[in-house]
Symmetry: C2
Subunit: 204 residues, 2 copies
């Protein structure tokens, strides 16, 4: 099946499982590639440079802002996060769909710049579950408390998104996002369907 | 997951596999029910009254038209096909999504009356494949020839639909439609998501 390149945004509050979901998603959906974000936050155990993030200094980050190199960037609590424009362009040029797994602020910026982007909001099954997940990260109590307050504000932004997925059972959530991506690829768009009809009716 | 009732329309040219697809679909998607159409055409071997169609006389059909009982109706070649309004209402009231498996003329009528209906167009993999399938039905050559001419005109209407699915491999086509239905159910709609948020944030 032919499809032009699309941009999928997965967002939601910190701790909701965005990163885990997107890793599993990449394994089950072909022609989909995740953009790697830049961040100034400290690397967590197990995270790999150039795979999970590009870990850069504050100075580097600010120089890239000055160069207008970011599609989106945001300061979340005390750390900077951002997606370089060239990340998305490189994926698009390779004929794949781009997957942005970003925070709520970043998602808003991208959607306002690229309204055709398909936005998916991940919801926790409950507030207490979100709290549990955050506490597992071994971060300071103060950081967790701030993240939770932010999460509540962010969850209320679900209304601005195209789709919502509750991360109750991980595999179920991944499946549903996979379905959303396949459905988007089956949307009738003049250019693509014209190509398909050429094939179907070629003998006439 | 909560969802309000939706209306899905599967359409496409005669012989493309709409009926087979919709039967398999009902087996794999819960909370989905197919409306049964009325028709004046002859019953084909294996078809069951009240399951495949309500087979009624021309006189009965015309009396129902006069009573404005149809959500849509159409004359395809020499036969009448139509969906009674009460069919859809009954399904909606039972808390399920309604699946309409109807011809292209009928689909147009429903979409114009219910713009929120999700429309899916089934395409044959090729013209020769469509011809093969029609010939298997053991109908008169003349009927087949007329159906094929109509099919070509109908296929060009794919541009008015929300989604297109190529019926190349039956199971793959059924799966893709299943994905589309699940994706539609995950769409953010204020009323539904408000209920979901109540659950998520109930502890606050």
């Amino acid at each position: 099946m032919k499809f032009k390149n699309r941009l999928f945004i997965i967002s939601g509050p910190s701790g909701v499982g965005k990163t885990t979901i997107s890793h599993l998603l990449l394994k089950s959906v072909p022609k989909l590639q995740k953009t790697i974000s830049c961040t100034t936050r400290e690397r967590r155990p197990g995270e790999v440079e150039g795979k999970d993030y590009y870990f850069i200094s504050r100075k580097e980050f600010q120089s890239l802002i000055a160069k207008d190199a970011f599609l989106e960037w945001a300061k979340v609590l005390n750390d900077f996060y951002g997606t370089l424009k060239k990340e998305v362009i490189t994926i698009m040029r390779s004929g794949k769909d781009a997957l942005l797994c970003i925070d709520v602020q970043g998602a808003e910026q991208v959607k306002s710049k690229i309204p055709s982007a398909c936005t998916i909001f991940i919801l926790p099954p409950s507030y207490s579950e979100l709290k549990n997940r955050m506490e597992k990260r071994n971060e300071k109590k103060e950081v967790i408390s701030r993240r939770l307050k932010l999460a509540i504000r962010e969850i209320k932004k679900v209304y601005n998104y195209d789709y919502y997925v509750i991360n109750d059972e991980l595999n179920k959530a991944v499946k549903l996002i996979k379905y959303i991506i396949y459905a988007q690829r089956a949307k009738v768009e003049r250019k693509i369907v014209k190509e398909v009809l050429k094939d179907v009716l070629c003998e006439l």
